[in-house]
């Protein structure tokens, strides 16, 4: 900072002969601060108005103190354990009581401080000089010279080999931490995004030729009888090997909507997906990925009258009867369709299986997706 001296600082002897206020004003002048106007709020001491102002400010602080005491009492004494509805709901007073007393304490302390400044401290009008011009030309020149000579002293302009090598080293020093951090965090996406847990798995499910059973979130297998016409259920791949990282119900890419059509509703399938439903001819059950192809929210609001599926996040709408083609909103791709198969279980009931994985990546689009 450039030091600018305003007038001459008074000598120590002069200061000793001054009143504290005069010395303060002299100091301000030295700092380029001019006290243009300064006046006691109550030039005549001991007036009623002054006492009244003082009492009001003191009352603010007193209320703040009392609110603090109230806070401590409320914090200790007001019950706060949550109880089921139907039992005494006394705990619901805890948060307002504790927070309210806290707010009161803070408010009156703050108001007290502000009123103290506004009512009791002297009113003043002070002007301070600004110094935001650029530095003096002399300063600029000398600094420039200092920088230039310093650079010359290093000899870096003449020694080009040194310059090149130090630039190279600097580049390495800057790059290594970046490589270190990014490299350790990086994971190869590979083909992960192209598969879900509905992928055939002959090791886990030999009796169904590797076809993955379809289950509810409580791992019960899904049977065609479970759904009424027009009904739908959120279903998952029945892969449950948590030790190997397989958990079909909690996996984020596997939630699937199983829909039973109303009688008379006819699906107009996309090319090559005509036999994905069940039964293969004239399907009554169809299943789509629940993950919206726009931003990955679960598209879960189904209007069975019109066969429209709505994603509540950004209002993409899919026409289930046209194989979940997007008909409104920002989504661009149909929800992927899961090929269904039905096999007879050991108990003689029919159960749904995924004939294969989805034929396209589920969820939001990405660069590698064709």
């Amino acid at each position: 900072m450039t030091e600018v001296n305003y007038g001459n600082s008074p000598s120590a002897d002069e200061l000793r002969s001054m009143s504290p206020e005069e010395a303060m004003i002299a100091g301000a002048e030295v700092d380029g601060v001019h006290i243009v106007h300064r006046r006691e709020r109550f030039p005549v001491r001991g007036s009623k108005a002054e006492k009244r102002a003082e009492r009001a400010v003191a009352a603010c602080f007193a209320i703040a103190g009392l609110a603090g005491v109230g806070f401590i009492v409320a914090f200790i004494a007001v019950p706060f354990h949550w109880h089921l509805p139907g039992t005494p709901q006394d705990f619901k007073y805890f948060t307002p009581a504790v927070g309210g007393t806290l707010a009161l304490m803070l408010l009156f302390f703050g108001v007290g401080l502000v009123l103290w400044a506004k009512w009791l401290m002297p009113e003043e009008e002070v002007v301070q000089d600004r110094h935001d011009d650029p530095s003096k030309v002399e300063d600029q020149m000398m600094t420039e010279a200092t920088l230039a000579v310093g650079l010359e002293d290093t000899g870096i302009r003449r020694r080009s080999v040194l310059l090149l090598s130090v630039l190279g080293a600097g580049g390495a020093l800057a790059t290594v931490p970046l490589v270190y951090l990014v490299g350790s965090l990086l994971k190869r996406p590979g083909t992960t995004l192209f598969h879900t847990m509905f992928q055939r798995n002959t090791k886990l499910f030999p009796q169904s030729k590797g076809m993955v059973p379809i289950v509810y979130s409580d791992w019960r297998q899904v049977s065609p009888d479970d759904l009424l016409p027009g009904g739908l259920a959120t279903v998952f791949p029945g892969v449950r090997q948590p030790s190997e990282g397989y958990d079909g119900v909690h996996n984020a890419s596997s939630p699937t909507l199983l829909i039973r059509l109303r009688p008379g509703q006819v699906v107009h399938p996309r090319k090559g997906q005509a036999d994905f439903g069940w039964p293969k001819q004239n399907p009554q059950y169809i299943a789509f990925s629940k993950i919206c192809t726009h931003a990955g929210c679960p598209a879960s609001l189904y209007e069975q009258q019109t066969g429209r599926l709505l994603c509540p996040c950004h209002q993409s709408q899919f026409d289930v009867l046209s194989d979940a083609k997007p008909v409104f909103g920002p989504a661009t791709r149909s929800l992927p369709k899961l090929p269904l198969e039905v096999l007879t279980g050991k108990d003689g009931r029919l159960y749904f299986y995924a004939r294969s994985d989805y034929h396209e990546p589920i969820g939001p689009g990405f660069w590698e997706r064709p």
Partner: protein, 544 residues
């Protein structure tokens, strides 16, 4: 100690005798700070209500640090699945992450935890809101002009970081709402061309949601981002101290001075008091206004979502842009550029870049490269004001579209009509806002000139001997032969009503709120005398 003779000893100051004086000497002997300290104590800050917006942002951030530190004592960001066994009965026995369970604990098992959690959340909302309003103030009054462009850029960085920090914070509890938000964030990362999938896998440590992400988000939320915000706030304030605060023109103020009150003691008391008032407002919100009741949302499940899922307010404009953007997808050479990329990556990038470049563009267009310490009234710079209103209109349409499902539901409007209405409004309303603001600015300017020239309308109608009716105008200053005012417009508010004249009187003659305070006669006489002296001194100064 004063017995030593000044003749035989070098001159020295008298030894301090009070404890405070001794303390001061102890410090100054070691640090040599008397001069610089006095300079800071004497520093002058101007006063205007609009300057408090930045203060609110600063104080909200301090409240965030205080309440956030409290929350770290109880919060555990782990994604490990546990079975909830706390006091909130409806959730007992449900599988959830440690993060969600510990947030429930803060809300139900930690005494007073819920209040602090709610204050923390409200403070975050207030922090971003105050920064944005503060930015409006700086923009519309031209406070960003030379020499303050650096602080404009730092402020923009703070706003962006504040939004990111807020999003990170409300994503931590791992409830259904925040998990849905993170899933969308993952989709946004995936939408970036070429590197999108790599970015997503880097951030989440594999496919969404992974097992490590909340731990990373947590350390970013409590250490990394607040550290950067703190550093930027320090730089922001250091620049305000270095360059001194800008101020509105008026009353003999010039570009080369700043007038107001000194830091010590008046400004410090006022600002310190204001901190507690802001804290009190946030505490009251935390006490009485429920915010983010995560126990009603349930733990995050990728297969679940609830309708009416709105993010915190500062993310709403991105939600809105995502809803409004048409389903335009680019497919080229076996690659996909998803529609999500434009409204969530490109749009905020463009908005941020335009805001960052604005001071330099304006200087270029107006060829104004001068230093400016005096602020402008928005009406005096109609182009800038209209551009600002245009941007705000654009933002508000996006913001409202972020809740267009709620609006459609409450007012029974078709959701599709809301989307189309938003798309059309986004293109049509900003230019209308520009044109309307421009006309309003010119109208206000003309009225200012009109009053300066012809005076204030007194409401007194006079009949001239000729039978002509005229309204009597009160000139604001000296007039020429035709009765036209000679005062020039100087960028300050022009009084428009008779009541606004004469308020500059320095002496408050009547005290008391409900009834005037009556003093004892001898005191009253002394007070009258002091007031008279004050008034005459003032008048003397004015006539000089």
């Amino acid at each position: 100690m004063t017995t030593t003779s000044p003749v035989t000893n070098p001159p020295r100051r008298t030894q301090p005798r009070t404890p405070a004086g001794k303390m001061g000497k102890f410090v100054d002997d070691r640090l040599n700070v008397a001069g610089p300290l006095r300079k800071q104590l004497n520093k002058v800050f101007p006063d205007h209500w609009s300057f408090m917006m930045g203060e609110i942002a600063l104080y909200s951030f301090i409240v965030l640090l205080l309440t956030g530190t409290f929350l770290t004592f109880f919060f555990d960001p782990s994604q490990t699945e546990v079975v909830y066994n706390g006091r909130y009965v409806p959730m007992q026995g449900i599988e959830m992450s440690r993060a969600y369970a510990s947030t429930l604990d803060i809300s139900f098992d930690v005494r007073g935890g819920l209040v602090i959690r709610q204050i923390h959340h409200w403070a975050a909302l207030m922090f971003v809101a105050a920064m944005m309003i503060h930015m409006f103030r700086v923009f519309f009054t031209g406070a960003f002009r030379k020499p303050r462009e650096f602080n404009w850029l730092i402020g923009l960085g703070l706003l962006a970081l504040g939004i990111v920090e807020g999003f990170a914070g409300y994503s931590l509890p791992d409830d259904l709402l925040s998990g849905t938000g993170l899933r969308i964030a993952d989709a946004i990362m995936l939408s970036i061309p070429v590197v999108g999938t790599w970015v997503s896998f880097l951030v989440f440590g594999g496919t969404f949601p992974g097992h490590i992400f909340l731990d990373r988000l947590y350390i970013a939320h409590v250490l990394l981002i607040p550290g950067i915000i703190l550093a930027l706030i320090s730089a922001h304030l250091a620049l305000v101290v270095r360059q001194k605060h800008s101020q509105f023109p008026g009353n003999g103020r010039t570009e080369h001075q700043v007038s107001g009150e000194r830091v010590y003691p008046i400004y410090a008391a006022k600002a310190g008091g204001f901190f507690f008032i802001v804290f009190a407002a946030l505490a009251a919100l935390g006490a009485f206004a429920q915010i983010n009741p995560i126990w009603l949302f349930g733990p995050y499940q990728p297969s679940q979502v609830s309708s009416g899922s709105q993010p915190d307010w500062y993310m709403m404009f991105l939600d809105g842009s995502t809803r409004l953007f048409p389903s335009w997808e680019i497919r080229l050479w076996g690659h996909t550029l998803p529609p999500l990329f434009w409204p969530t990556v490109v749009l905020p990038g463009i908005l941020g870049a335009m805001a960052a470049l604005y001071p330099f563009i304006e200087a270029r267009m107006t060829r104004d490269y001068q230093h400016h310490n005096l602020l402008q009234r928005p009406r005096d710079v109609p182009v800038r004001t209209s551009l600002g209103l245009m941007a705000i209109t654009f933002y508000v349409v996006l913001f409202l579209s972020g809740g267009n499902d709620i609006i459609a539901h409450v007012f029974d409007i078709s959701l599709n009509a809301m989307t189309w209405g938003g798309r059309i409004a986004l293109l049509i309303l900003p230019p209308i806002a520009y044109a309307a603001t421009y006309r309003i600015c010119l109208g206000l300017q003309r009225h200012d000139r009109e009053v300066l020239e012809h005076g204030i309308e007194t409401g007194i109608i006079k009949v001239l001997p000729t039978g002509e009716y005229i309204e009597v105008h009160q000139p604001l200053g000296p007039t020429d032969d035709h009765g036209h005012g000679l005062l020039e417009y100087s960028g300050t508010p022009v009084p428009k009503r008779m009541n606004q004249l004469g308020v500059m009187s320095p002496v408050k003659l009547i005290r008391g709120f409900f009834y005037p305070v009556t003093e004892k006669p001898e005191l009253q006489a002394a007070i009258d005398e002091a007031d008279a002296a004050e008034t005459s001194q003032r008048q003397h100064q004015l006539t000089e």
